[in-house]
């Protein structure tokens, strides 16, 4: 793996790409390119790419970190479930520190609530099997990347006759959010670096309506420095030539039609619903709910969940950051009140959150 990765982190190739980027992006205007995916955000900070790019190329972090865009009311519901004696929660670790209205799952766990951290939704099957007297609830957040694995796990649970495994779903779709940002217009986006992992599922064709209807260049990109810089160069080339197309830089993982098996799994079990994004608001047809015939998997159909009243955090500008309207350092709380150890907003929590990435990997001159 090391040798394979080294090719995508090659210093000389980086320099060549940067020279080409400088040549093709005249300094008389700025270029605002949005990386939608949190993993891109992390890589950009980790490798110090912002400092290497010319100053007139702005990389905006988009709403592609699932933990960051998960609504406050969802966290409160998860906390309400954790407080029930008949429930055992199973979750990805990222959600643990996300602040709810007055608590977090981490604080609940410290109080002795039963919450288990897993790396794959498949692990919930064993948890359900080992705890037959509990309702085991998997916190199903995430984009198209994680949704198929969750659904496959539930199909397996059905096949195994496990009747005590449920989901609390907040699954989200990427392209409706991208469309929303373009319709809104405030972020003045010149091009999208499209998420590589999500695209492996939905395919590069899924972005064509954005290029066609909203006249915006899109490039699907991988996550290594060379991938990201090449995607930037491809976007700048399109802008210079006045083209608006979907291009696929990440051909080693992404096909035009995506992963048809995974898409069929999603289509079989889920339907699009209007969904609320933390800090942004409701976006039409941007979430996935379970179809009626699979509503038995939904813990909300089994239990009445009574979360505490919503209490938003004053001063946090996560919503603006998620829309590319502000940078983490524009927030008054950033690195002062809000740190990864004591996060105020969700963007400081997740490993893929813009604020966490900016905090952990901020350049020396900032």
């Amino acid at each position: 793996m090391q040798n394979f990765l080294a090719k995508f982190r090659d210093k000389r190739l980086t320099q060549t790409l940067l020279e080409n980027i400088r040549r093709i992006a005249p300094s008389d205007r700025t270029y605002r390119l949005m990386e939608v995916c949190g993993t891109h955000t992390m890589a950009i900070y980790r490798f110090g790419l912002r400092q290497l790019l010319p100053g007139n190329i702005e990389l905006l972090s988009g709403p592609g970190c699932p933990v960051c865009v998960t609504d406050l009311s969802y966290i409160d519901k998860a906390i309400a479930l954790a407080r029930r004696d008949d429930v055992l929660l199973v979750t990805f670790g990222d959600l643990m520190k996300v602040p709810g209205s007055t608590s977090s799952l981490l604080k609940e766990k410290a109080q002795g609530r039963r919450i288990k951290i897993v790396y794959s939704p498949l692990e919930s099957l064993a948890v359900a099997r080992d705890n037959p007297s509990k309702k085991v609830v998997f916190l199903a957040v995430g984009f198209e990347t994680t949704i198929p694995a969750v659904l496959a796990s539930m199909e397996q649970a059905d096949a195994d006759g496990l009747e005590n495994l449920f989901l609390l779903t907040a699954h989200k779709l990427v392209t409706p959010a991208m469309k929303f940002l373009l319709q809104d217009g405030a972020a003045r986006i010149d091009g999208f670096i499209c998420p590589g992992h999500v695209s492996a599922i939905i395919g590069s064709k899924a972005y064509e309506f954005l290029a066609d209807d909203y006249h915006i260049p899109c490039v699907v990109a991988g996550f290594e420095p060379i991938d990201i810089l090449q995607a930037v160069l491809m976007l700048l080339t399109q802008l210079r030539e006045g083209r608006c197309q979907v291009q696929n830089q990440y051909q080693r993982a992404v096909r035009p039609q995506g992963n048809t098996k995974a898409l069929a799994l999603i289509g079989k079990h889920c339907q699009a619903i209007d969904d609320h994004w933390r800090g942004i608001g409701t976006i039409p047809a941007s979430g996935l709910g379970l179809r009626d015939e699979f509503s038995r998997w939904d813990i909300s159909s089994v239990l009445d969940i009574n979360p505490e009243p919503l209490r938003e955090k004053p001063g946090c500008i996560c919503g603006q950051i998620l829309q590319g309207l502000a940078r983490p350092r524009d927030c008054k709380l950033f690195a002062k009140v809000c740190t990864p150890e004591e996060p105020v907003g969700a963007c400081m929590v997740s490993g893929e959150g813009s604020c966490a990435a900016a905090y952990k990997h901020r350049p020396l001159e900032e």
Binding site: Q2, R9, F47, G48, Q51, L52, P340, K360, P363, L364
Partner: protein, 332 residues
């Protein structure tokens, strides 16, 4: 299979039996055999260092070691990086009722061999037993006393001082994480858990130029570097390219999103040394088998804000904050 019962901690004949059958045959030395309430120790003059560490790692047996080896090496290493030669050690066990005595024997075996290797004597100890579920298998506290090497003391840090690490970083964290989560079979992820006593002759020889040492355990290199420079007028710049990381650790980091700068080590030292003589010190470290992968990984620079930064491979820079990178409890 024989297991620990509450009677083993009650102070009666069962307690005595546990001590006589498990501990005494392994930790044999005159001070311990007296079985008094405390050990009587002859001290030489000069400064000594006293340290303590409690070990709660899960799993208790991991690739490259176990809680017993860790408990001895961890405390020995705290002394060594203070510039002290380990002399005497105490150990206290908290055992969960139902714990297998055969596993306790394995742990005591590795404590004995680690103590022998580091030339430290376990001269006093204690055992407590708690009910099932009130502790997880076994916890071990070790405390130790060591004598400071003549002429060694910590010194004021200055710009241009060199930063040395004595081997690849992050092996302990990645190995324990892999064992706990059962991620990769047959991986080369092996803890670096080992005693640093091999450094003592080198510390003695370079006592004038070594300025300060630490072992980068919890929080890894990033957190330890931040702690080291607090109160100085310096920052640290680490050269990413120069950092020794094994291919196995790097691969796990790529796979699960860890940063090797934040993964704990249990057999490495970080040394800040005067620039003058740093190359000789490096050569001396590398001439030892345990230190052959030592490297100069950066240097200090004038920075009143005490920032720790990395010069990235591609020519950028990033700050390494003193924040816990991820939640990995019970790593040591």
């Amino acid at each position: 299979m024989q297991t620990i019962t509450l009677a083993h901690g009650a102070g009666g004949s069962k307690s005595r039996q546990l001590i006589e059958e498990v501990f005494l045959p392994r930790f044999t030395n005159i001070e311990l055999l007296k079985l008094s309430d405390g050990a009587f120790l002859p001290l030489d003059s000069g400064p000594h260092v006293f340290t303590t560490d409690t070990h709660v790692i899960e799993p208790i047996f991991f690739s490259g070691g176990d809680i017993g080896k860790l408990a001895v090496c961890g405390t020995v290493n705290d002394l060594v990086v203070c510039g002290a030669r380990p002399l005497w050690m105490s150990c206290g066990f908290i055992l969960e009722e139902g714990f297998n005595i055969s596993e306790l024997e394995r742990i005591a075996d590795s404590m004995a061999s680690a103590a022998d290797a580091a030339d430290v004597k376990i001269v006093t100890g204690d055992t407590k037993v708690v009910g099932p579920g009130q502790a997880d298998k076994v916890y071990i506290n070790t405390s130790a006393l060591g004598q400071v090497i003549a002429g060694y003391q910590t010194k004021i840090l200055q710009a241009a001082d060199k930063l040395i690490v004595t081997g690849p970083v992050g092996q302990h964290g990645s190995a324990v994480f892999n064992d706990r989560e059962k991620l990769l079979d047959n991986s080369n992820l092996i803890s670096d858990c080992a005693s640093l006593d091999w450094m003592l002759p080198i510390i003695d020889r370079f006592a004038d130029s070594i300025k300060i040492m630490r072992d980068p355990t919890r929080g890894g290199l990033a957190v330890i570097l931040n702690e080291l420079i607090v109160g100085s007028s310096c920052g640290v710049e680490v050269i990413e390219n120069a950092l020794p990381v094994t291919a196995a650790t790097q691969s796990l980091c790529e796979l699960v999103g860890f940063d090797p700068f934040y993964l704990p080590c249990e057999g490495r030292a970080v040394i800040i040394t005067a620039a003058d003589g740093a190359e000789d010190l490096l050569a001396a470290l590398r001439s030892c088998a345990a230190g052959r992968e030592s490297a100069v990984i950066g240097s200090l620079l004038a920075d009143a804000r005490n920032r720790v930064s990395v010069a990235t491979t591609l020519g950028g820079s990033r700050i390494l904050p003193a924040t816990a990178e991820f939640m990995l409890p019970r790593i040591c």
